[in-house]
């Protein structure tokens, strides 16, 4: 993984000092709260319902054991003993004191971490496929390009006061595990006919109150042009994105209102001036960044094949966990392990300091000291020998980290909702917990198969409900919480926006409604191989609506 050089260390130190000075000027009254807000947001500090929240960047979701231990230490020392992993591969702390934040940032800097641009109307932490560098289907590792973008976008003089936040995601294969079609810029690594590496470029995807899928504006952009082309997109957006209404300020609205052909022509015209300039990436620099992401030396561990088969036979719990949470690695003797942060009835994405320490230790013992955070709020150990799966599983079990539900109905994404967030209209966490408890039986989950439920506590859609196979949106109606359901969303390479079923459900009804939807799927699927989303796409929304609202139809 990437290691800071002297320049990076000095930069982050200077940024900590800069922010400490800003905090001091705010506390002395030199800066008004209005002027301070964008400054603190640009360094990840939010004001929530009960306290400040600090969001720490985990660039493209990659970290090592030492960094994870530091995150645990911060949770223990400055917060209430836990942290929350987010859908953008970051971690947030819900209870830090503003006066402690400079000290937290100094601690983070010791392990090459920061909170730069995890919020605010600037280019946010760049995300990537959590299986990068390990997946069998990868064209190239997306992280070196995400790292180049991270560096280039840090305290960018031209793009620090954009119309709105700006999110870039990079995926390294056809199979999109980074949800690039719901990002402001989505980049898909690919090769052209001559075998040169580059990107398909998508712009204008986003969720929020106006969910829109991204449009492809370039089928192939050579890798050397990554920064110049991104600059062209950013400049056109910075100059022309709407600033009169924050709900219409994302680039998706500019794409929609200008038309993708015209906007793309403007971007190309801008790029014509920039492409041969100083932003062109030399091959040597791309190669140098790539060397940081060289895969670990994986020695052959073929004994794991036989061991794995024997262990699975003797322990059904282990077999179930392997079936759900372990995915094939490009090296046949190794596997990629998902550590679920979705215990049955738990809070999606939360991890205690002790759990973080345990993951750090296990990563160092079994996984070449690499950890990933997924946009589905789980953790991944990307390089584990098959032969180490059983001891790893035993250890995870002791720390409550062996829930075998990756991709199943209880692997729920949920935003913090009204329990924490100042923007929320409704609670998300208790809804996730109740659904998780209702469907917690392993047999029942396995019977239902792959099903993604995503819950947002307001229309800003941080819980990605628009791309949930089942999406749940909390709204406020006459002072009470109400939950709208949408069906058929998806955030992968077959991305789609879910459609609302009809009237919303009260907190006491929502889990029953989810059960009705699940039962309708089970009754209609052709066989167990037809997943929920495939079934929905075949039969449409009507059978589900009929089941959800049948009693009303009869009453009318």
């Amino acid at each position: 993984m990437y290691r800071y050089d002297e320049f990076d260390h000095a930069f982050v130190e200077a940024r900590v000092n800069q922010f400490s000075d800003q905090v001091a000027r705010r506390l002395s009254g030199e800066i008004s709260e209005d002027a301070f807000k964008p400054l603190r947001l640009m360094n990840g500090v939010y004001l929530q319902l009960h306290a400040y929240m600090l969001r720490v960047a985990i660039p493209y979701g990659t970290l090592n054991g030492r960094q994870m231990r530091k995150l645990a230490h911060i949770a223990r020392t400055y917060d209430r003993g836990y942290g929350h992993f987010t859908t953008r591969q970051n971690i947030q702390y819900n209870w830090p004191a503003l006066s402690d934040i400079p000290a937290i940032l100094k601690e983070l800097a010791e392990v090459e971490m920061h909170a730069i641009q995890t919020s605010g109307n600037c280019i946010r932490n760049v995300t990537a496929d959590h299986f990068a560098g390990a997946a069998a289907d990868e064209v190239a590792d997306p992280r070196p390009y995400a790292e180049i973008l991270r560096q280039w976008s840090s305290v960018h003089p031209e793009f620090s006061f954009l119309p709105r936040k700006f999110k870039i995601a990079v995926t390294g294969s056809e199979r999109d595990r980074a949800a690039i079609q719901v990002h402001d810029i989505g980049l898909q690594l690919k090769k052209d006919e001559e075998g040169r590496l580059g990107f398909a470029v998508w712009i204008g995807g986003g969720q929020g109150r106006t969910p829109i899928l991204a449009k492809k504006i370039r089928d192939f952009l050579p890798e050397a042009d990554l920064l110049s082309y991104t600059t062209a997109i950013m400049r056109v957006y910075n100059l022309h994105g709407r600033r009169d209404n924050k709900y219409k300020a994302r680039i998706k609205i500019l794409v929609h209102e200008t038309g993708v052909e015209q906007l793309s022509a403007e971007i190309e015209a801008e790029w014509a001036h920039l492409k041969d300039g100083e932003l062109k990436l030399p091959d040597a620099d791309i190669a140098a960044i790539n060397t940081y992401f060289a895969p670990p030396a994986l020695t052959p561990r073929a004994e794991g094949w036989g061991e794995l088969a024997a262990w699975k036979k003797s322990d059904p719990g282990f077999a179930e966990w392997v079936g759900r949470n372990v995915a094939p690695h490009r090296h046949p003797d190794y596997a990629m392990v998902t550590i679920s942060l979705k215990p049955i009835g738990g809070i999606p994405g939360d991890a205690s300091a002790d759990q973080m320490d345990a993951v750090a230790r296990l990563a160092q013992e079994f996984a070449h000291d690499e950890i990933r955070v997924t946009h589905e709020q789980n953790l991944v150990l990307p390089h584990v020998a098959l032969s180490d799966l059983e001891p790893l599983y035993r250890a995870l079990l002791t720390d409550g980290l062996a829930t075998a539900n990756a991709g199943l109905i209880t692997d729920i994404i949920a935003c913090p909702g009204l329990d924490y967030c100042a923007l929320a209209n409704a609670r998300s966490i208790p809804v996730a917990q109740e659904i998780s408890n209702r469907f917690g039986d392993p047999k029942r989950q396995a019977e239902i198969g792959e099903l993604k439920i995503k819950i947002s506590g307001c229309i800003n859609a941080c819980g990605h409900h628009h791309v949930g196979h089942i999406g749940i949106l909390g709204v406020e109606k006459k002072g009470a919480e109400l939950y709208q359901i949408s069906l058929g969303g998806s955030g992968d390479e077959y991305a789609s926006i879910g459609q609302i079923t009809g009237r919303g459900f009260e907190p006491g009804e929502i889990t029953d409604a989810i059960e009705t939807i699940v039962d309708t799927y089970l009754a209609n699927r052709t066989d167990t191989d037809e997943s929920f989303i495939e079934c929905y796409r075949r039969i449409g929304a009507d059978p589900f609506k009929a089941a959800l609202y049948s009693s009303e139809a009869e009453a009318a």
Binding site: F161, N238, L239
Partner: protein, 164 residues
């Protein structure tokens, strides 16, 4: 009270200060007027709003004494891109001033995008500028139009050249 600040300090009796409506003082003209005025002999400056296309100035830029870009709010960053286009695309070499809401934390970024003078109203900002205690970072992860050193490793990195 507002002052004009440059890297050399406070500018006394600056002729272009907004609202300085002396009959003889030269004028900062809005874009449309500036385009009309271009045939006159008297020196003139231009003040642009964030929605103005700076490229419209191309035909008359040689005759313009100063360009002022307006920041209607701290959070409105269009002026940064306008400045880049003026310096980089149009090759404008004259004075480039930030007017409107100009606060301390924008100034280092403005200097990097080609501004060289600042009309400032905010007293704590003026104080820090006079003391030359700018809150910028001297290490940059991207090229821009300011004077920087390029010998810092990767092609996109720069370090500030600190004057005096």
């Amino acid at each position: 009270m507002s002052v004009i600040w440059t890297q050399n300090g406070i500018v006394e009796n600056d002729p272009w200060i907004s609202g300085g409506e002396g009959a003889d003082s030269p004028k900062l003209l809005p874009l449309a007027e500036a385009l009309d005025h271009a045939q006159d002999n008297a020196p003139f400056g231009v003040v642009l709003q964030p929605a103005d296309d700076v490229r419209a100035l191309a035909p008359i830029l040689e005759r313009v004494a100063i360009v002022a870009l307006t920041f209607p709010a701290f959070s409105d960053g269009r002026g940064f891109s306008q400045a880049m286009l003026l310096r980089e695309r149009l090759g404008y070499k004259g004075e480039l001033r930030a007017v409107g809401t100009v606060l301390l934390d924008q100034v280092p970024l403005m200097l990097r995008t080609g501004f060289d003078s600042f009309e400032v109203h905010h007293a704590p900002t003026i104080e820090r500028l006079v003391e030359r205690r700018l809150p910028g970072i001297d290490l940059h992860y991207q090229p821009s139009v300011d004077r920087t050193d390029t010998t810092t490793g990767y092609s996109w990195r720069r370090t500030a050249i600190l004057n005096g």
